[in-house]
Symmetry: C2
Subunit: 397 residues, 2 copies
C-alpha cells in the first residue's frame, strides 16, 4: 500500500446519500480541526453553479472549517432555489461543526438544471460527519465519492521540509468531460498543513491553476461548476511561510496541480490517448496557450490521433486559426519526435513509423514552434473516439 | 428536370484528372466570355492555402476570365512549391483562354501538405477546357467535381428582374467538414450576368458571407482553403446596377448564400440532424453570433441532439462560456419550440415529447434569448455522431 502525505488538521469521509441513481458514494466532506486559510479558483462560465456563487463570496478566507461536496447533481442553472439549497448545505455542515455557515465551502458536480434532493443531501452530510477520520482511507473514500464519469480516482501528494518542519500536501481531483448523462465537471481540492496566509494561498493557487487546470481540455466545454480549492490548516506548526520557504511551497503546489490536471484528460470519456501539446517560440504565454488550446480542441486532430493517423495538416491548420498572428513560414511541427513540417514546408517522413508510434503508446506528443519569442505553454487533451459519442449520445438523461 | 437560372456569359466543365484516388471527377472550370467583375472572401487561417494566397492578390478585379478548381488536394502547407503550382495552374488556363494569368482565379480542396500532381492537373485543365459549354448540365458537372466527403451537390439559383432586364444568379458550393482522409473544406462560387462594379460586388459579398458562410460549422475547424467567389459577367446588358436595383441584387445574393451555406452542415460528415441556432436580445450581432457559434461547436450539445436527448443544461452552459457578458437571470431557452429555461430558472417540461420531436425531425431548432438589446444571429451546425469519428479516425490517409 502506497503511503500518501496526509496533512494534519483535516478529517475526511464519504457516504452514499442516494443522489447518484447508481447508488455509488456521492457525498464527501473535508472538515478542519481549526479555522484554515483558504483560496479558490472557479469557472469563468456566466452560468456559474450555485455552489460556485456561494464560495466566491467567501474566499480568500482565514476561517474555513469544512467543505461539503456532492456528485450526481451540479446544482447549476437552478435559479434562486439552487442558491438557497447551496446555503442550506453549508448551514447543515456548520450546525454539525458548530461554526458559522460562511466558514463552509460547497461544491457540486453532475446533471445541470435539476434541484438538489435536499432530504438526501442533509441526511448524507449528517451521516458523513459521523464517519470523519484522519485516515488515508477516508481521503480516498472522498476521492471516490466526487467522481462522475471518471473511471478512476485522482490523488497526488507531496512531502517537503520547510523551515525545519515536515509539510504535507494532498490533492484530490475529478473530471472526465464537462458533464452529461453520467455527469462530469472539474473539481480539485488541495489540502496542506503548512501555515500560509490566505492572500498568499490565493496568489499561489491562481498561478498554479494557470499552468495546470487551465491547460487541459476534454472537449472544450467549460463547466458551470469548475472549482479548485486550496486549504492550509497550519497544523504543521511554526509561523506563516514567507520568502524562500513560501516560494518552495508554491512550486510544490504548482507541481501537484500539474500532476492532477494531467490525470483528467488521461481519463477523458472514451479516451485511448493522452495528448501533450508543447508550443514554443511565442511572444507571450497567452499566444502559446491559445495555439495549444486550439489544437487540443480540434475534433479533426483528436480523431486523427484516435486512428493513429499522422495527418499533420490537421495540426498545423488548427494552429493557423488560433487567432495568433504568425506567418506560415515560421511554423514547425514534430509529432512523437518526428519532424513533419519545418518553417512552412512539409518534410519527407515515414508515415508507417509515425503511425506505429502513435498506436503503440498511450501518450502522443505534439510539438509546435514559431519564431517570435521565448514564451511557451504545455497543454493536455485526449483523443476523440466513437466511445465518447456513445457515452454522450446513446445514454439519454 | 428542374431548370436553374444559368447566367449568360459563362461556360462550365469538369473532368476526372486523376487527382482523387477514387477516380471521381475532380477538376472544374468556369470560363467567362468577356472580362468579369469579381470579388472574393477567404479563410482567416494563418496557414492559408496557396490558391487563397494567389487569389487574394487579384480580387476585387474588373477583368477575371476564368476559375480553375481541383478537389482531392488542398495545395495547403506546401510552401513555395505550392505557390508555384497555384501560379502554374493559372498560367495553364490563361494560355488556353489567351489572357493574362492574373485574370485567372484558382481554388483547391482536399488533403493538406502534399504537392499537387501538376502533370495530372495541367492535362485536366486542358481536357476540361475542351468540354466547356453553357448548358445547365455542365454547371452541375462542375458542382460534382468540387465535392470531397460531401454526399450531394449543393446548387441554388435565383432569377430576378432589375432595370427591366432578366438577371440570373447561380451558386455552387461544397463542404462537409474541414478536410481529412477523404478531404473537405468550404468553397462556393456565385455567378451572375448582372452588370456590377467589382467594388460593389466586394461589399455585397462580404455582407452576404457574414450572415451565411460565416454562420455555419461542422466541427469548428477553420479550413486553410475556404473561398467564396462572386463573378458578374454583365452579359444581361445594361449599365451597372446602382441604387435600389443594386440593393435588390444584394438581397438576392445574401439569400442565395444563406441557402447554400445551410446545405453544408445539413450534409455534415455523419450528420443525422441539421441544427439551427437563433440567438436574440443581444447588444451586438457579434455577441449573438459568439453565443450561437459556441453552442454550435459544443461536442456535448451536438452529441445530445444526435441522441435525441433534451439535455438543455449543455446548451445554456455553452452559452455561458461564449465570452459574452450576461447574467444567468437574463437567459431563456426554447428547444424545438418547447420552453425549457426562462430568465435563469428551469421550467417543468415533458422530456419524452421534446425527445420525440428531436428524433422525428431532420432539423432541430435552438432558440436562446437574453435581454440586452435588439441584435440577433442565426447559425447552422449538425449533430456529432459516431459516424463522424469513424470517417475521421478509421480511414487513415
Amino acid at each position: 500500500m502506497i503511503r500518501y502525505h496526509i496533512p494534519a488538521g483535516f478529517r475526511a469521509a464519504a457516504v452514499r446519500s442516494g443522489i447518484k441513481p447508481s447508488g455509488s458514494p456521492d457525498l464527501a466532506l473535508f472538515v478542519a480541526s481549526n479555522p484554515c486559510a483558504a483560496a479558490g479558483v472557479f469557472t469563468t462560465n456566466r452560468i456559474a453553479a450555485a455552489p460556485v456563487r456561494w464560495d466566491r463570496r467567501i474566499v480568500p478566507s482565514e476561517s474555513i472549517m469544512g467543505v461539503a461536496i456532492n456528485a450526481g447533481n451540479a446544482n447549476a442553472a437552478t435559479g434562486d432555489e439552487g442558491l438557497r439549497n447551496a446555503q442550506a448545505t453549508a448551514e447543515t455542515l456548520a450546525a454539525k461543526i458548530g461554526c458559522d455557515p460562511d466558514q463552509i465551502l460547497v461544491a457540486s458536480t453532475g446533471i445541470i438544471g435539476r434541484q438538489l434532493p435536499m432530504d438526501k443531501l442533509t441526511a448524507g452530510v449528517g451521516a458523513a460527519f459521523d464517519r470523519l477520520t484522519t485516515d488515508q482511507e477516508s481521503f480516498f473514500d472522498a476521492a471516490h465519492a466526487i467522481l462522475t464519469t471518471d473511471t478512476r480516482i485522482k490523488v497526488a501528494s507531496r512531502g517537503l521540509t520547510l523551515d525545519g518542519r515536515a509539510i504535507n500536501l494532498l490533492g484530490i481531483a475529478k473530471g472526465a468531460a464537462m458533464m452529461g448523462p453520467k455527469m462530469a465537471t472539474m473539481l480539485a481540492f488541495v489540502l496542506t498543513d503548512a501555515a500560509v496566509a490566505s492572500a498568499d494561498l490565493d496568489a499561489i493557487l491562481r498561478a498554479s491553476v494557470d499552468e495546470s487546470f487551465h491547460c487541459i481540455s476534454v472537449e472544450g466545454h467549460t463547466s458551470t461548476n469548475d472549482t479548485v480549492l486550496l486549504l492550509a490548516s497550519g497544523a504543521a506548526g511554526g509561523s506563516r511561510l514567507a520568502g524562500e520557504s513560501l516560494a518552495s511551497f508554491a512550486a510544490s503546489v504548482a507541481d501537484l496541480c500539474r500532476e492532477l490536471a494531467r490525470m483528467i484528460p488521461d481519463d477523458g470519456e472514451g479516451a485511448t490517448h493522452l495528448i501533450t501539446i508543447d508550443v514554443s517560440g511565442c511572444r507571450t504565454r497567452e499566444d502559446a496557450r491559445a495555439i495549444a488550446k486550439t489544437v487540443a480542441e480540434s475534433a479533426l486532430v483528436k480523431t486523427a490521433i484516435a486512428g493513429g493517423d499522422p495527418n499533420w495538416g490537421r495540426i498545423v491548420s488548427a494552429a493557423g486559426y488560433a487567432g495568433v498572428d504568425f506567418d506560415e513560414s515560421e511554423l514547425s511541427l514534430k509529432l512523437n519526435g518526428f519532424p513533419l513540417y519545418h518553417n512552412g514546408a512539409p518534410l519527407p517522413f515515414d508515415a508507417d513509423a509515425v503511425s506505429n508510434s502513435i498506436k503503440s503508446e498511450r501518450e502522443t506528443k505534439i510539438e509546435l514552434a514559431i519564431n517570435q519569442g521565448p514564451a511557451a505553454a504545455r497543454f493536455w487533451t485526449c483523443d476523440l473516439t466513437a466511445e465518447y459519442v456513445h457515452i454522450n449520445a446513446d445514454y439519454t438523461t
